[in-house]
Amino acid sequence: AQSVAQPEDQVNVAEGNPLTVKCTYSVSGNPYLFWYVQYPNRGLQFLLKYITGDNLVKGSYGFEAEFNKSQTSFHLKKPSALVSDSALYFCAVRDSTGFQKLVFGTGTRLLVSP
């Protein structure tokens, strides 16, 4: 079964510094990977996805993610963090064995301090 793991419950970073939120995956076949962000009392907002092609994927709000097949990782990155980036981030993988549901990680809370 497809799964993703987010090893950090929380990431703290100072504004202006680079940030990384980690995700590793386990899939059979080619992975379809996603990152979503969730602000308080809001639904999930799409940031970016990897389907195929370039290993560096660029997404919304200046975020990017690097797909690494040998390490089975899909880490979310941003060169310069903003206080407004503080939120809950979810990595997800599309289930390719059935009906294409998304399987989510447990989430990582990002706190950006001024």
Binding site: Y32, R42, L44, I51, A92, F99, V103, T106, G107
Partner: protein
């Protein structure tokens, strides 16, 4: 395009009562999902519809949860009777038939259920 609409935004009920949530997906999206997100956890799929048919309800507690999408458009999720552990955010999402292009999945703002 209009997003995925959900109502109500918040609901507080006593245990053993019943509750219903409504979702209207993006127009033309064939697939509709209901996810349950318990505080501190990632969303978990409860049920997935393809048009008006159920394609995955393996994690739906069928003794108390039910869902329908009669005309292949909007959907209702019901809990009867509710338990304390049902307190969660219920997220609805939709996607086109073939997921891959664009954002793939679009989520609504969710319904926050508190069972007391």
């Amino acid at each position: 395009e209009a997003g995925v609409a959900q109502s109500p935004r918040y609901k507080i009920i006593e245990k053993r009562q019943s509750v219903a949530f409504w979702c209207n997906p993006i127009s033309g999206h064939a697939t509709l999902y209901w996810y349950q997100q318990i505080l501190g956890q990632g969303p978990k799929l409860l049920i997935q519809f393809q048009n008006n048919g159920v394609v995955d309800d393996s994690q739906l507690p069928k003794d108390r949860f039910s869902a329908e999408r009669l005309k292949g458009v909007d959907s209702t999720l019901k809990i009867q009777p509710a338990k304390l552990e049902d307190s969660a955010v219920y997220l609805c999402a939709s996607s086109p038939q073939a997921v891959g292009g664009g954002k793939g999945y679009t989520f609504g703002s969710g319904t926050r259920l508190t069972v007391v």
